[in-house]
Symmetry: C2
């Protein structure tokens, strides 16, 4: 059985990568699977252990980190999030693709551990659209907007290892483009494996 591939979906804050992944999985559930992350934050109403997250204490998270269980981790505000190697491997071994919706900085870490991972960067239609979405509706000064744009530019520098760039303007177009990437990557193959299928040997 052909092994699945890891697809990292990331992008600057506010670009709508969560919505995009959710819509992709809703529309094409057989295309890939997401994994359950570990977090140190408390469950919100309706969130279930092992379904939405694995909820762990700071101490437990630290222990898992030291044991090398994480493919990547990120600190968001006062909480920590991590993707488990075991979760990813379980899906891959089942012949399925994995989608990891993570912060930009995590992409480089995933690539380090899994060189064949495919990194997809989600872009805003315009810089203005992105900053407007984050800062609110026109309540900022010019200098605040410029500051935010400078931050976004810095965020973009983390995108160096990303290979594919998908603009999230019309959601459905973005979903179709990410789908095309996943389908196309599944068609990449080594001639030796192809020959094995047809001739039973290399």
């Amino acid at each position: 059985m052909k092994k699945g591939k890891v697809f990292v979906i990331s992008g600057p804050s506010g670009v709508g990568k969560g919505t995009l992944c959710h819509e992709l999985m809703r529309k094409y559930p057989s295309l890939a699977q997401t994994t359950v992350s570990v977090t140190t934050r408390a469950p919100r109403p309706g969130e279930t252990e092992g379904k939405h997250y694995y909820f762990r204490s700071e101490a437990e998270f630290d222990k898992m980190l030291k044991e090398g269980l994480f493919l990547e981790t990120v600190d968001k505000f006062t909480h920590r999030y991590g993707t488990l190697f075991s979760e990813v491997e379980q899906v891959l071994d089942g012949g399925k693709n994995v989608i990891l919706e993570i912060e930009m900085i995590g992409g480089a870490n995933v690539k380090k551990h899994i060189p064949e991972a495919v990194l997809i960067f989600i872009l805003p239609p315009t810089l203005e659209a992105l900053t407007a979405r984050i800062t609110g509706r026109g309540s900022e000064t010019e200098s605040e907007i410029r500051l935010r744009q400078a931050q976004v530019e810095k965020e973009f520098d983390q995108a160096a290892p990303y290979e594919y760039f998908v603009v999230n303007d019309v959601l459905d177009d973005a979903v179709e483009n990410v789908k095309a990437i996943i389908v196309a990557e599944g068609l990449k193959d080594a001639l030796s494996d192809v020959k094995q299928n047809y001739f039973g040997r290399d």
Copy 2:
């Protein structure tokens, strides 16, 4: 304007690559453009100079070959066929993708001249399906079939530089898969170019 890319579509004789390309262009005419090849064979009824082929004499073909006008050439039976650099460049400069439906051996030559060309290999559903399609309907001896299969295996060895492998079982599925490859390849980008779009500089 973003430049187009070159997509080589090839595969063993009888795999249906011509039908696939024709259906792809019919269904998605804006996805890519084909080019007009040069041939030394005589026009068939209904074929037009400059539309179906550029019909040239052996001597003219030789002259063009010496002048380095061909991206790739192939000999089929007693006739010769060639893809012109100028035809390909014209489409690329217009920001469109080029589809070259060529013999397998041509793929390596295209890749040599245009390293960023994307090589797609069309596979038969099974080895038996392919040999049946070529040799006719069961009129061959066992040894003839084995000989043909050995030839196919040799043909497969020319596929080493090919990156994508698409099985042509259900035509419409194969068309959708090739489309996904062309769409996905168009989403590959360099961060420097992406930043240029958003921030007006590297």
